[in-house]
Every structure is written in C-alpha cells, then in structure tokens.
C-alpha cells in the first residue's frame, strides 16, 4: 500500500534521525544526578504518579481479593493472562496453617507494591505502607523485613537475617555500598567504596562481596559498621549467602548446557563442600527453611529439588515455571520457611510441603519474606 510505504519511511526516518541526535559521548555514571528529584511539573507528576500507584494498587488488590474470595484456596480458577504457561496440576491441598505471607509484585506503574496473603483461607490484602518505597539509588524493589515488621526498599537478599540492616549500592568511582539501620535510618558506607565490589548478600555482621585481584576473583567480608574489610582465604566464585554459609556455582557465568555444580563454604570452619552436582544444567532458585539449597534442574520449566545434605536430593515440584518480573526471573524466587517452600508461578502462588507443590492462591506475586 502506498501510504503504508510512506508511513514506514517516516518512521524509519524518525528513528534514524533520533539516533543521530542522540549520538555523542556516552555519559559517565552519575547515579545521584540522574535520580535527582524532578523539578516543576515533574515534581507534580511524581505526586500524581504516587497517587496513581496507590489507586492502581487498591484496584488490583480489590480485584485479587474478589478472585480469592470467589473460590477456596487451592481451588482457584487459574490463569487470567492469556500468556500464562501451563503449570503442574497437583491435587488441591489447602494450606491450613495460620500465618501471613508477605508478597511483592510489579504494578502497572512500574513500581513494586506489597501485601499479604493470610492463611488459612488465602485472603489477600495490599499494604499501603509498602507503596512508594524507593532506595536512595532509585531502585524500587521492596521486601518485607519480618523481624522488624516493616517493608524496606531492598531485594530480600539484601536484608540481614535479624532484620536490622538493609543494603543498597551506587556506582561511583567504585561500587559504593551502604548499610542502612532499619531502626534509626543511619546510613553507613561500607569499606572499599573505591573498589568494584560485587556485593551479593549479608548476614547479621558482614556483607559478602567478590573483588577481582591478582590471580582471579576473591571473596571479601565487609563489616556492616563500615570498618575495614578482609579477604577470606578461599578460591572460587561465590554468589549467595544463607545460613552461616556462602554458596557458589564455581564460575561467574557458565556456558549454556554446562553441568551445574553448587558449592558451600562454611564461614565458621572455612571448609568448602560440593553440595549439588548435576549431569546437566541447573539454577539455584532459593533455600528452604533449614538453609538447604533449592535447585531447578535443567533450566526454566524443569523439576525443582532441594538438597538437604551433600549429594542428597528430594523433590519439591514437578516441571515448574517461575513468574517473571520486568527484569526476568527474580534472583532466588523460591522462599523456604518453617511451613514449606513458596514458589511464585506464572499463574499463582504454590507451596511445596513434603515434596508436593500445590497452588494456594491466584495472586501473581513474589514471596517477600517468610510466612509468619
């Protein structure tokens, strides 16, 4: 069609000339500048946006509430999205314990919201106190700090087990990490802000990070009080902290299809144990309530297992597809607690107890903390 061709030309020309206009030197990293509060109407828009977020969260919560109340837990009609993939169909098994599971999800506005599913009954309610939380670097990931009973603007991997500290990072000359005291709001810059640390988690006293040096990458321990960090005498690449141990798959990245191996470094004994060894690919997707690693075998959509001790594997879920956020599958989407292992699926929330995963809610959200 003639006008189609003309339109195509116009669009192609628009994109080409816009690209030309945007050419020039790539800007330096200036995190603080790029996240400066907008001025003038931008500020008004920010408030308008916050109000919109609240309204959308309210509407979404009401919608989900209606959905959950229209059918009992474990028997909800699934899949509101036409793009949802087929999930396993376990025998319905209502979760009868009494607790509230915090959840987070990405709203239509691009910000994360929070709420709770209450058991028994799987009723859902959004929590307005979770809205509008933004870390100083602009990140909008939130998690529920169960010990302190409040939402914090950080991925749950960046909240200490005792709930007193959460971490965030900005990129300056090096990677600058900050520890925030949940009770006082005090912000402490961790040691080594001139270095390009890759911080990957924390316990109640230290953050753990990888830093490249002579001979390869090394594991460092950075005190949360900002005092000098120290190198841990161990080789390998480490990626997660859990249960007085750090865990790693042996390399920062593996080629597609490479066999999966998971190692555990005991931080007290400084001993390394090969905990999981698969003949094919796999991904660490979380930890159970006792600190054992939960692994998806064979990549996305594969079976999920838990490894309570080296070389021992027990089933968690069969052929499971995790829900995705804006940046793909969340880091460690599975969350274990004293009740079971929570799994955010593409069509709702599942819990695995004694090796059987059953759907408990149609809420499409991520566990943001243990059920308590």
């Amino acid at each position: 069609m003639a006008d189609h061709g003309s339109l195509e030309h116009q669009l192609t020309d628009f994109y080409h000339r816009s690209r030309v206009a945007m050419s020039g030197p790539v800007p330096r990293w200036e995190p603080a500048k790029s996240y400066a509060a907008p001025q003038g109407w931008g500020r008004q828009l920010m408030f308008t946006g916050a109000a919109t977020i609240f309204l959308l969260a309210f509407v979404a919560a009401a919608s989900i509430w209606r959905e959950n109340h229209s059918s009992p837990a474990g028997q909800n009609q699934a899949v509101t999205s036409p793009t949802a993939t087929l999930q396993p169909s376990p025998a319905p098994s209502a979760f009868t314990a009494s607790c509230k599971l915090p959840l987070n999800w990405w709203g239509a506005t691009g910000h994360m919201s929070g709420g709770f599913v209450s058991f028994p009954g799987a009723s859902f309610a959004a929590d307005s106190s979770a809205s509008g939380l933004v870390s100083p670097y602009g990140g909008t990931w939130i998690s529920y700090d169960t010990p302190m009973r409040r939402w914090v603007p950080a991925d749950r991997l960046m909240v200490s087990p005792d709930g007193t500290t959460w971490l965030y990072g900005t990129l300056g000359t090096g990677m600058i990490y900050h520890a925030v005291d949940v009770r006082t709001g005090t912000d402490t810059t961790l040691w080594g802000s001139d270095k390009m640390y890759r911080l990957f988690g924390l316990d109640n006293k230290y953050a753990y990070a990888m830093l490249d040096g002579t001979g390869g990458a090394h594991l460092w321990r950075l005190p949360l009080d900002g005092t000098d960090g120290s190198q841990i005498r161990v080789s390998g690449t480490w990626q997660f902290v859990n249960g007085a141990a750090v865990w790693g798959t042996g390399a920062a990245s593996l080629p597609a299809g490479a066999p999966f191996t998971l190692q555990r470094l005991d931080l007290q004994k400084n001993t390394v144990t090969t905990w999981v060894q698969l003949s094919g690919p796999g991904n660490l997707v979380g930890f159970d309530g006792r600190g054992a690693p939960v692994v998806q075998v064979g990549g996305g959509g594969g079976d999920i297992i838990v490894a309570p001790s080296p070389g021992v594997q027990r089933p968690v879920a069969h052929a499971f597809t995790f829900a995705k956020g804006p940046d793909g599958i969340a880091s460690l989407p599975a969350l274990g607690d004293s009740y079971g292992i929570w799994l955010p699926g593409t069509n709702g929330l599942y819990v695995s107890v004694n090796g059987v995963a059953s759907k408990q809610s149609s809420v499409q959200a991520f566990p943001a903390g243990p059920c308590s």
Partner: protein, 187 residues
C-alpha cells in the same frame, strides 16, 4: 572441558566487563528506552536503572543470557511500565516538554515533531513494538519475547498501531512535511 571454560570465564575482570558493556551498549539501550518514553531524561534514568540491575546480577544471570539482549529487554520493560509512559498527565504536558528536550531541539524538524506526537498517542507497549520493528528491525517473535506478548498479539498490535499512526499523521499527500503555518509554533 567445561571446568576449563568456567575457569576462563571466572577470570573476566568484572569492572572491565561492565565498562566495555556499558560503552558498547549504552546508546542501543538508551535508544530503546527513549523510543518508548520519548523523553530523554526519563530514558536516561531507565537506562541507568537497567545497567545497575545488570551489575547487581553479575554472575547470577542464566547461563544462556546475552547481556545486551537482557539490557534491552529490561530497559524496554521498564520504559513500558514507567509512570510517565502511561499517564495522561504526560500527554497534557507534551507540548511543554518538546522545547525542553535537547534531543528534540537538535532535531529541529517539524516532521519529526509530528511523528513524535503521533507516537505519543500509542500505548507505551505499542510504541515499543513499533520502534523494535522499525528501529531495531526485529521480527515479531523477537519483539514478543521482549515485550512479553505472543507473536500473534504483537502482529495485531503492530497493525493496529500503524492504523493509529496513519490516522494521526493524516493519509493525504503521502505524509509529506506540513507547512510551519499549519503545524504551529512547535519545533
């Protein structure tokens, strides 16, 4: 053999890796975000956020990940869901924004202003579909994987968006550049 590969990959200096990736892909990522939000400052924020997320996920991305593709997917997704992409308030302020946008000032071309205005009439996801098709030259399946929609849905939205653009830009005169007196004082 796999352990050799792992050791080799494990020795990549993360700072070098990040710096080279940042330099090599910044414009591509920025462009993808810009063509959805059509605001340079917002696009820069989104691009920044995407790179921060990449850094934080160093070593945690699935083995088969392509970092540039990952960045474009994240930036596009963030741009689609950005409040300023969605709000009617943004459209109301579109006229005010135009002279303040350095990229747009540099263009200094009424025809491009007109196309930009027409694109602002589309939903953010549809703007992403159109730009990924015409700017990046991607197929519908690839676009679907980026915007999170099935291929057929992408095709439908693509055709519907073209119709909207055709309406907004006018179907007479083969979409030639309008005279400044007709367009007004923008640009």
């Amino acid at each position: 053999m796999s352990s050799n590969v792992a050791v080799k990959l494990g020795r990549v200096d993360p700072q070098d890796w990040f710096d080279s990736l940042y330099s090599a892909t910044y414009r591509a990522v920025m462009g993808c975000a810009y063509f959805v939000v059509l605001d340079r400052d917002v696009a820069a924020e989104i691009t920044h956020d995407a790179f921060i997320r990449l850094w934080e996920r160093y070593g945690r991305l699935p083995a088969e990940s392509n970092e540039k593709a990952w960045l474009i997917r994240v930036a596009t997704s963030l741009a689609i869901s950005h409040p300023r992409s969605q709000g009617a308030a943004y459209r109301r302020h579109a006229d005010y924004l135009e002279p303040a946008d350095p990229g747009l000032q540099a263009l200094n071309n009424l025809e491009l202003v007109r196309v930009r205005r027409a694109l602002l009439m589309l939903e953010p996801r549809d703007r992403a579909v159109i730009s990924l098709r015409f700017d990046s030259g991607l197929g519908f399946a690839e676009i679907g994987s980026i915007v999170g929609k099935p291929e057929n849905t992408v095709k439908t939205r693509f055709l519907r968006s073209l119709e909207t653009l055709r309406r907004e830009l006018g179907d007479a005169g083969g979409f030639g550049v309008e005279s400044p007196t007709k367009e007004g004082s923008n640009g």
